[in-house]
């Protein structure tokens, strides 16, 4: 595999007056890699994408594309395809003509354009819609056309800012899978900004998590899900997390036995150096709590509220003064009700040094 980085971001900072939008960000994106930049609003993710595109200039630092420093090269000459949340198609042209526009403008001959466009239209299953006009398409199909057009320009690097932002859940789930297949089939490099962590996990080879203008973690979706480097990431990847204050009772390798007052004792994975007796912050994902009626464990809780999502139940269990959020897949034998009591087993927990700013600030969505 070619390990030469296709895009390299070197110590990029962006300040607006006193506001720091990006703080010394460095990143390498490999050739043919699909990278998602993800973070809460205000984390700097769109700013970073716009700097790569050349739409805004960094206060400090450089962007290198294919070994060339592009800081003084405008967007139109960077050889980049761009897809935005707002879908911009030519309303007076049908799907095929919209997609054919960029290569024709570039001066490719008609025959070449026709064959490129046919391939892309086939890959994105737009064949049956090729003669339709944008206003005759669903939003999902409109965005597909916008993607097809960005790809047809011949760009090897595609930048996307919230491309599923205006789609309903179902359309975006279908489109994201097709989008990844297209990028991989054509061997393109993609950088995709989103606030939706499920979308990011679905499409990305690697995810970059930004918070307050800083890179918090870079890794494959599995690495980030199973090894969240901070309490914030444990919360952010998954959307919800139980965060507790506890004390380390025992350390064995990378595992710690922790005690949470009013909740009990369980084992967690040590994510930052901690030793016996330390006060720690502990993250427990709702799906890492097992609920049983029959099997007795040390911890017992009472259903305080529940939401049915079809594929799973989301339950708030009251245990002493704690509320433990639990997600349980739908099963034949399981029909919980308010007031029901269950034994619980925490099968996975992550242990961090206790954050100076306090638990609530540490996991705040900002």
């Amino acid at each position: 595999m070619n390990e030469m980085p296709n895009v390299e971001i070197l110590n990029v900072s962006k300040r607006y007056g006193n506001i720091v939008a990006l703080d010394n960000v460095s990143l390498k994106i490999n050739d043919k890699e699909y990278v998602c930049i993800i973070g809460p609003s205000g984390s700097g993710k769109s700013t970073l994408l716009k700097i790569i595109a050349g739409i805004i200039k960094p206060t400090e630092g450089s962007v290198i594309i294919d070994g060339v420093r592009v800081d003084d090269i405008p967007l139109s000459e960077r050889g980049i395809g761009v897809v935005m949340q707002d879908i911009l198609l030519f309303p007076n042209m049908n799907v095929r003509d919209n997609v054919s526009f960029p290569p024709l403008v570039k001066g490719l001959d008609y025959g070449t354009v026709k064959s490129i466009v046919s391939e892309i239209i086939r890959d994105l299953s737009l064949v049956t819609l090729a003669e339709r006009y944008p206003d005759e398409l669903s939003r999902g199909s409109q965005q597909k056309v916008a993607i097809a057009r960005a790809v047809a320009s011949g760009a090897r690097l595609i930048l996307m800012d919230e491309p599923m932002g205006s789609l309903d859940t179902r359309s975006s789930r279908i489109l994201r899978y097709e989008l990844r297949s297209l990028i991989k089939d054509l061997g393109l490099t993609a950088i995709h900004v989103t606030h939706n962590q499920e979308e990011a996990m679905s499409v990305a080879d690697r995810m970059v998590i930004l918070r307050r203008g800083k890179v918090m973690q870079v890794g494959t979706p599995e690495e980030i899900y199973f090894n969240p480097k901070s309490l914030f990431i444990a919360r952010f990847v998954g959307g919800e997390v139980n965060a507790f204050e506890g004390i380390v009772e025992e350390v064995s390798g990378d595992k710690a036995t922790v005690y949470v007052k009013g909740l009990g004792r369980f084992e967690g994975k040590i994510m930052e150096g901690v030793s016996k007796g330390d006060k720690v912050g502990i993250a427990v994902r709702p799906e890492d709590v097992i609920v049983t009626e029959s099997h007795e464990t040390e911890i017992k809780g009472c259903v305080k509220s529940l939401t049915y999502y079809g594929f799973c139940y989301e339950i708030d269990l009251k245990i002493g003064n704690h509320i433990l959020k639990v997600k349980v897949p739908r099963r034949r034998w399981f029909s919980p009700d308010i007031g029901d009591e269950y034994y619980i087993d925490i099968i996975r927990a992550y242990v961090y040094r206790y954050p100076e700013e306090g638990l609530e600030r540490a996991i705040a969505y900002e």
């Binding site: 809460p40 309903d168 179902r170 899978y177 979706p221 899900y225 099968i347 900002e366």
Partner: protein, 365 residues
């Protein structure tokens, strides 16, 4: 238990030129109920809210508010507040001025704006300007503005769609609690299925201007009345077949991959050409063959890791199937691995083969 009806929409139709935006829409909303209207873009959701609010007149049909015909009443006397999509706040006015704006216009002075800000927990930010607040706080200001109107019925058009996924989940709870504590009636339009399922007492599914189904979240998820609803609520796997027999409470359906048995009460029809539907989360995947009904051998074509769930893209003979397994407790799967897939007879749903064609019915396009 008897309920008072806050709102009744009776046989409402509306066209824009040749486009039929709403076709004979009828439903009732009880007082104190949290009611969601769910559907894809272009289904007619916003048109419906505008007709209820009085901003638009229906071509046919009536809007009854607390027992009185309001069809010809202007918006301001309907006892209904409408929060449009995008909820623009006035950037040059403070939080308090934004919330009290409608009263100020009418020349009324009251405590309601402050009370509303207290409810959304933003009283201490009343002198701030919108740009000094986070997205979630701005959303709460917009809600306070609707609450301050004192109306008993709230119409909320995509009130959470501008928010990040995490904030969306947080605000759902707050919003529902607020409506319930103040004993208001809410009609909330969304295209987000999870949002509707978690916030609503009942959900109306709207498609191309027509009501597809009205029911509680579990009714719509468990027994969707049409293939469209089944496929809008979550992804679905579907295969066509013919009912070839019945017995022991089951229908037997012959398909391309073999015979599949489905519980009789899970079928909308008793004979003929059918579509069998299974949700990805209802399919079980095993490394070894099992004794269950409806076991099929499959190849893993792709593994899509999504965190909470892992989505397996499988192929059974010629049928491409997706199965969602619970990451936390599941074994791990690899591309090209052979597995055994079980379709539990109690989770399948059987529909008559749609006359208009399958793709149209499933995708609505």
């Amino acid at each position: 238990m008897s309920y008072k009806e806050a709102l009744e929409v009776r046989h409402v139709s509306k066209s824009y030129g040749k486009v039929r935006a709403l076709v004979d829409v009828s439903f009732t909303v009880r007082e104190g109920e949290y009611f969601c209207i769910l559907g894809p873009t272009g289904a007619g959701k916003t048109t419906l809210l505008k007709i209820i609010s009085g901003l638009l007149k229906p071509d046919r049909g009536k809007v009854i508010v607390f027992g009185e015909d309001a069809t010809d009443l202007p918006p301001e006397v309907r006892n209904i507040s409408y929060m449009p999509q995008g909820y623009a706040l006035f950037s040059h006015l403070t939080v308090y001025e934004n919330v009290s704006y409608s009263q100020w216009i009418k020349g009324i002075k009251s405590d309601k704006p402050l009370e509303a800000l207290r409810i959304v927990d933003l009283e201490r930010r009343k002198d701030n300007y919108p740009y000094e607040l986070s997205g979630g706080q701005q959303q709460r200001v917009a809600l306070a503005r609707v609450l301050a109107s004192g109306s008993k019925i709230l119409l909320l058009d995509e009130p959470l769609s501008a928010l990040d996924a995490v904030l969306n989940i947080e605000l759902r709870r707050e919003l529902r609690m607020m409506v319930k504590e103040l004993k208001l009636t809410a009609i909330h339009v969304t295209h987000n299925t999870a949002e509707a399922m978690s916030i609503a007492d009942r959900i109306l599914v709207l498609r191309k201007g027509r009501v597809e189904q009205i029911g509680k979240a579990h009714e719509i998820y468990d027994i969707p009345s049409t293939i469209f609803t089944a496929g809008f609520i979550s992804e679905i796997n579907y295969i066509d077949g013919v009912i070839v027999g019945s017995g022991a409470g089951l229908f037997y359906i012959k398909t391309n991959i073999g015979t599949i048995s489905i519980l009789r009460e899970r079928s909308h029809v008793r004979e003929g050409n059918v579509i069998v539907v299974f949700r990805p989360s209802d399919i079980r995947v095993f490394k070894k063959v099992t004794n269950d009904d409806n076991v099929f051998k499959a190849t893993v074509k792709d593994v899509e890791f999504l965190g909470l769930i892992t989505r397996l893209h499988l192929r059974i003979k010629t049928w491409d199937v997706i199965a969602d397994v619970w990451t936390s407790t599941s074994e791990s799967y690899r591309k090209n691995e052979e597995v055994y897939v079980v379709f539990p007879p109690e989770w399948g749903i059987v529909y008559q083969y749609p006359k208009e064609g399958l793709m149209l019915e499933v995708l609505g396009e």
